[in-house]
Amino acid sequence: MPIGLNAGSANIDSNMQKKEITVKTARLFLLVSLVALIGALAIGPAAAQDDMSEFVFAHSGPIRPMDAHSHWYGSTHWMLKLYYDCLIWRSADGSGYVAEAAQSWESVDDTTWRFHMREGATFHNGEPVDAAAVKWNIDRVRHPIGDIPLYQQWAFVKEVVVVDDLTVDIHTHEPHAYFEYDVSYNGCELIPPAYFEEVGQEEFNRNPVGSGPYTLVELSENDRYVFEAWDDYHSGRPEVDRVIYQVIPEPSAQVAALLAGQIDMMTGVPVPDRAALEGTEGITLLTESANIMHHYYARVDTESGAFPETFPDYQPATLDINVRRAITHALDRHLLAEVHGAASPRLARVCSYYPEGFADKYADPDIIAEWYDPDLAKEYLAKAGYADGEGPTLYLDTPVVGRGGGAKEVAEVAAALLEEVGFTVDLTVRDASAFAVEVQRSGNNRDLMLATLGCGPALLPLFYQCDWSAVAYNVCNEDWDAVAQAIQVTIDGDARLDLWEQWWEYYIDLTQTITLFEVTNVMALNTGEFEFTPRKDGWMTFRELSKAGM
């Protein structure tokens, strides 16, 4: 047989065999894939297969430990409030305080507050929530434990005295104007003393026990926290059976999960997604103050923080009050708020819903619009010795994103506005943690830096007193200091507001903190199933959550 014919026959066989193996492999692959897909899809969800109402909130994370006394992170305390009761707490509408573990409370004298506990109230493990437990908790939180920093905020407490099983007195060092605010602040959460002492902090963080309306039934660290309504809660079982805090770091994934019906609420809805969410049936956008404000801190001294070592010969232009006044009038707050995307312009550092914020003056859109005055800014620059539009160089430091959203774009526009009146701006944008380490917490702010802060009035006067040792600035004006001290010990509300009015005049005049805007939280809620009115304090906690149509 000729060799060529044999070779041709072998080639035909080989091709047929190749086809066969191709078809077999493809079939096998398709079969395996199909079985795997069907198998996976056929297995139903692990959760939410019962009749319980379930609300899933997308938390951007990270979430901190369950020992509520061990950190100050607001967004973790949101969640902890489901689980822990405080003695009293801020009402959702910001108008006052509501009873929690305490049934009632009263001021006995200027330095003594008495709390009456609920009879028979217990923690989730059955331990009594009594006067002794309150004393143990406040004594714990007002002393340093490990690296716990909360004790500073509880320094106003002089002594906690157990009067009887259900009555406890809290004595303050001096009259304390913001006692109720401070006693319902971070660290107010009550934990069971006997259980904690038995298991220690580490185990408590794994298996916490509280006395709030929900019990924790599942904890996956910094990932998923499942709470279920507690039947024995003193004020009645919450309406929604199960509340889940699910950590979803990516905003786009949160939006997708909401559209897919896998979560019920998200906060900080990105601007490009708002229209799509608003147009989706059953989803409603809600807005409320995020309780966060953006400011620029101006360098007013050369001694605080790391400044003397880092910039030994540098004389910031902002030491001159006229330069600072030029800056505040050069900034168009309406424009900056618009650039941020979810903010309202402000001149003062307390949120507008607090009476101390004097919304009619410092949150009034017309007044703020008039405040932007480039000509006046140029006049102040001239007074500072910078005539003919030749202003000094300003070093402006900002993170890419601050608390409450975008900061980079705002800083870029602010820099342009400052340059319009004659400043030369050297803008440095850093990643948030680099900004914290290199500028903010080390006190390395050179001329201007972004500060994103809460906006409650209680602690604010403290920050500008002569004995306050902030690393980013050191403002000391003895007259202002006297007003601040008076505010803190004035119990009478009206008299205190008069003092606040004076306090703001110093704040505006000295221009160390240049307030830009109050951040608005844009939330998306599954209103097809749930009703929720956002709290004024910006806390995403869901004690007041209810089912739609109930």
Binding site: A40, P62, N205, D223, R224, A256, A257, S433, V471
Partner: protein, 305 residues
Amino acid sequence: MRAFIVSRLLQLVVTMLIVSVVVFFILRLSGDPILVVAPDFFSEEQIEQMRKFWGFDRPLGEQYITFLRKAVTGDFGTSYLAKRPAMELVFERLGYSWLLAAAAAAIGLTVAVPLGILSALKRNSFLDLLITMLSSLGTAMPSFWLGLMLIIIFSVHLRLLPVFGALEPKAIIMPSVTLGVGMAARLSRMTRSAMLEVLNQDYVRTAHSKGLMQNTVVLRHALRNALIPIVTVFGLQLGWLLGGSVVVESVFSWPGLGRLMIDSISVRDNTVVQAGLIWFALSFILINYAIDVIYILLDPRIRFQ
């Protein structure tokens, strides 16, 4: 074999020591973690107290010795933020990363090897062109983009799969497909080129001329000899996957090691970052050693060298 294993173990100890030095000092040089953890209103004195509490006030060398002494017993310290042992947090997440890595690897292998073989067998055909194009696409496609596209199609529009978490078995489909696509693309190209090389060898021609079935020639003779570069690439890919895929775990909120690392790095929780990186390095090295052992099993000549 015993000498090989002993020498590799010694290499492992030395490598881990070097890794521990690099990880420890780079993290310390990257900035003061206390400045991230401390609140805005803290004074210098309070910040110093925190440094003292966490031992950052001591000389770096002393800190390293303390770290190393504890690390050999498995104690990587307590997380600054979670207030729990760092290694415990790493181990909690490890299972999820392993599961995802295994699923992605299974997808990668199941898709890549048959396609690579087909591509080589059908060299220069339309099928070959198609597979080559798809593998180029798979290599070039960013995983976060693919992940988001899958979410939009299968979660938002079709409502078949969950967007986040690891709560139900089907939650693994999208993250593992996202990871597996990239892996399959790289592996299929490698399989194709390795197969093309061996298919032209004399012993393959001899096998054909002996009258062996095509699948016997391809699977027993050619593929086995082409496996070494495939296994090498697979091992490297698997090493990365076991360390946790940061991007995919973030997009799908998969509670794995990658997400833990990102969360910890963003808040400079150094104890957790150290524990995670050491584990990552260890798993990578162990996989490489496993690959070495597989080489020996695949090609006995390597043993004698």
